[in-house]
Symmetry: D3
Subunit: 278 residues, 6 copies
């Protein structure tokens, strides 16, 4: 990362001078949670950390006033609470944490806060936080995924039925690319709940009915997907695609206004401006 885009490496006065209405502050959100025997507890954090750093760097090089904060390491991983090693915050603790940090960012003079999220279990609570932080602090808030889909390098489709959402081919490939020393493919096993693919309405996403699940609802492994199909080459593609998406997102976010381009009014009547720092 180009020196200076890590906000917390600045001094307080330097951070205050650096941030302004045009700044985009990125808070990567990771997790420390069970990902099966083949992946480290840090999997989501490594992805969020690395994609955020690279994307902020590239976006800044392209003229976006982007800044990255230290990754939030511990988040809402209660679907893996049953699995030793998972370090999880309750929903209430996680939401309070994110609101507290949002207030801090607003007090520092920025107007845009991006959660760059590496853990699927954070999507719903961050969905709540997006609005909570917007309403309470006046910040414009955004949620960007740290990992996006990409076609496998050999042009062949993955055989995961779209169910590889935790410890499957995508995450394992990313880790093979980013931290191969932490991956043990010898213990990787396929855990694809194939019947779910046959389900007409109920599913993880893209289907109209969602459901509350814990990761051991699908079997003792706590894995959803087929890590045996993972390769470092696929990981490299996923990483590039994810960084590219994040760079594009930061660029678009920097210019985004709900009333359309060119508008500069800070907020609607529903926002009372940044709350007092208390």
């Amino acid at each position: 990362m180009s020196a200076g885009r890590r906000l917390a490496e600045l001094s307080g006065p330097a951070a205050a001078a650096a941030l302004g209405p045009g700044s985009v502050v990125v808070l990567p959100t990771g997790a420390v949670e069970h990902h099966g025997p083949h992946l480290p507890l840090l999997t989501d954090q490594i992805m969020a950390d690395r994609v955020a750093a690279e994307a902020v760097d590239r976006a800044a090089a392209a003229g976006v006033d982007a800044w990255v904060l230290p990754t939030l390491a511990y988040t809402k991983s209660d679907e893996h609470a049953w699995a030793p090693g998972t370090m999880w915050l309750r929903a209430e603790t996680f939401l309070q944490t994110v609101v507290d940090l949002g207030r801090s960012v607003a007090a520092a003079g920025a107007e845009r806060l991006v959660f760059l999220n590496g853990h699927g279990g954070n999507v719903a609570p961050l969905g709540v936080a997006l609005r909570e932080v917007r309403r309470l602090t006046g910040l414009r808030t955004f949620l960007v995924p740290a990992l996006v889909a990409a076609p496998p390098p050999d042009g062949e489709g993955l055989d995961e039925l779209g169910l590889g959402i935790h410890g499957g081919a995508a995450e394992t490939s990313m880790l093979l690319h980013l931290r191969p020393d932490l991956v043990d493919l010898s213990t990787a096993e396929r855990w694809v709940p194939e019947h779910l693919a046959a389900s007409e309405l109920i599913g993880f996403h893209g289907k109209p009915v969602t459901f509350g699940w814990l990761s051991d609802d699908f079997g003792p492994a706590g894995v959803l997907g087929d890590p045996t199909q993972a390769t470092a080459a696929y990981g490299a593609r996923l990483y590039e695609a994810s960084v590219a998406l994040a760079v594009a997102a930061l660029t678009e976010i920097a210019a985004f206004h709900p009333l359309g381009p060119g508008h500069t009014v800070a907020g609607g009547a529903g926002v009372a401006g940044p709350v007092e720092v208390r």
Copy 2:
């Protein structure tokens, strides 16, 4: 509705006798919130209420042991907090309410709880609640939308750019079908943030980047969509499609198991069984 499928019309002992592992309990979630000058505050509640009642009735007639609870009238409508008439719960209050009700349902002997939701602002917090209730009570939890898309009756596409999410053609049509006495089309105006459609990444859904918004971020009307295109005939189609989706969902939910059909084990290691009633 066929007598007896409204759970709260039973006595306590009758409810206890009626509910069992195969039962599907439906909690409709509405809202009391600003929907522009042409629609009642009750809009989301009317939709959730009517679709839930009809769907439970039809599902029961088809052999699903479905039950409907009284609609939760007041929910998380803080995106409309700026608009007089909106009656909103804070995120914390809403989550506690839903968890309390989940515990009550679990204590009554059911194993499946469905939120049939009429208000978009509830989707994220209910996403949190799905897992929270599952983990704390052992219930299997599901989220079903009260309103789904349907093609307009005349075969022509709507001109809302997919942005008609609040007080637009769909909701207005539904209300013209269900409660025309509460709709005042003479005050309906088009409020489509067209620039959002041009946004490559940022959007309400279907796009990879979501954002935190208050309804007056898009203009003083607090409406997103074009209610001038609404018709009762389109409302009838939407209603039928929504009920049909809900009936199919209840049917699938009644037989759903994360390990696939035929499995009966109640939960994974992560679920300790229903919590004590305290």
Copy 3:
């Protein structure tokens, strides 16, 4: 009910236009809780719902600017938590809910909020809420019972020793009047804790010492009273008396000022005016 007195059937702008300093907003509070084998879980809600609607209608016809909100269905029923079918909120959840709704009413421009309460278990927490909402929002707050005593039609006294407070002759009669289809008198049994009547000091009300009880402290039925004495005719009398009381209460409330008639100052030094909507 005369069209327009159901506040949530108005649009947001219409509600804002309708409400003013002279308005009286009524929030009926019901319950979904065990009432013995002869009464529906909805008993308290039906009473609150019906009495509120009728009273607001009559009061409005008499010139009171009264409005009714959707009934709060789920409330603090923990004394029946042991009984399957009871859907209860914890004290904390209930208080937060009522405070959130109070803030919403204050933001809508009204100055008077009435809880018209059908469930005895809500009296103490609403007593807390009356002051909490007054202090935090500046609203004037009132608590009106949905069910009041009335002499039985045949002039004979009831034989309940004043202990018919839950599922007894009064509630059962009301339901026989309002929803006879939901009452099963064949299962009604007398459960009067006669020794309590002999207690000099300890009792439910009217005696100086109160106590904390759960409904199964008095026996396995969870009923206090003698529903076998209930009749629809008595229910009609109770309903009329309750509506009359509520109408008179709304009329008096509309003109009430703690400093006496003619005063218009909104509040004492202790009230800082409506809190910001956050």
Copy 4:
């Protein structure tokens, strides 16, 4: 007080040995709040403290296994928050405090807990606490007033219209009896909201409609009643009547069972026994 009835003067092991199923533990609840210029902030606490100590002493002498705890000094006095000198807990803090203390009493082996309350503003939150503590800890809980009405010594009626509820003739007389050094009658003024007596339905108690009030709603004095009618002789009568009521209450409480005399079963199905001490 006879040595040994102040529970906290015992050692831990002695307290554990002293308490058993037949014990009645009394927690006096006072307040530190504005009572006008003529009475000390401590008024309610002095009354609760003195009546509790004397009543426990007399009850113990009469064979009741009664014990008194240190008075809870700071309670829910938010109706006087506007008045400097008032030291108040929010509703939430007060309820948590009382629940925490209830758990502690249950863990010590007692089965009966009595709140002997000197402050009217605590009645509603203690009403909530009675049930909350019963449900969460299995304790039987009771609320006894520290001050009860008594006829004035000269046989003449007081001229307060029943509205002397805060700093009026009764409290001032009690203090003239118990701590005359802290009373300054020269500053006492009559503050009786006479119009309230004319109110048909709305009132403090005994009338069907209650309301949320702050003490300065009735004028700048924060007093309700006529302290100019107070005398030490009337205070002595009130004190005797209050102690007599409390002694009789403790006696009745020691033998009280909701199923009637002779029953010994600890609780209904709704009580799971004392909660773990955490």
Copy 5:
């Protein structure tokens, strides 16, 4: 104590008139907790109560505008939760209580609040409260110990290895001085965890590593120290030393300013002034 220095013995208006920027308000914090078989549950409270009253009296006589509030009887004693008789607040309840009281003191017009603390278990939570109250209310906050070390009267060193922190020679001596009627030395036993003295790094204080402990971690007695070495004469010395420290502390506090003597500015940029009383 000289009349008038007990703040709560004043009326509200008198308290408001008495307090000003130069006032020092003292809140003694005690405990009701197990102290072994030889000491009363009230031990810490008696010490805090007596030292505070005497110190405020002497400081006032010396010209410090000091005031004492009623002792906070119930505090954070969870390290003794296992011992019957301990009445403890959870950390959250204790912190909320202290913050609520801090707001009340700030609203009364004082600018300095001193916790004079008799219970070691309160030191950490009061450390949190010092800053929390300062930040939220603008008060300057201080923590003064109610018991300080003093050499034994006979010039001989105590043989407790510095580990006599709960129910040991110091506390027992203080009680022998202040309330000998509540001490039973016949049951006193030596409980000194001598190995702790040998620990190089881990200890209660003065050593660099602290640890989380419950009082029964060190044995079944819940005592840390050697009460058999206690004497009333030593207690008298400890009392005098403790009062002297407290008087000196109040004197220094009255003149204290973080910018040094002579400064009068109320606070830094981080303090927004007393919060609104809500």
Copy 6:
């Protein structure tokens, strides 16, 4: 660091296999907060991070079964809330976070949890957490400072009067040693509140009276100490001393038992064993 001592780099099953009763789990606690113009916001985090990693590595090499978790980046920095760039959690959020993580560590099979803390503002809340986590989870908990005093390399004393606690010579020297690229000595200024050294009783530590302060109470710089005296050589000494202390602490902690060496019983009666993972 030797591979494998970073717990979150293991997989869940590997972590479960690695941890046992003899394991010592280290959670470094940093901060993101203003440290003056010459130091980065990350100062405390860098110290905690680096000292923890090195100490765990050395302790493990010496046979201690030590493991380090990802550093908790955001903590309780409210004394610097006034300074832009500070990212702070409220006390409540911080305590909940630490308790949640403690539960997670207990569920993973370890029995000892060490907070290795780089931020002074965390000492009081971690003092609360030590006991809270011990009581709620059964873990033995410890607090070790990440930075300890050491004599300056040239044998001369520092001229900070013992008041260099935030951004002074010690922290600045550490950063000059660990991350010189992030230090800008050209902006360093001396901010020593010399009058505090003259204060007899009131001070930061070592003096009997502590006080609640915000960092701008001492001037606009938010610095306490004299960073102009900092050198990389002194930083190297401080780093070595701090690592050495931490290694010694981990070694002692691994063998620590409150009943003395050789004892293996897990806990006293006050600990009910690890709480259920919910």
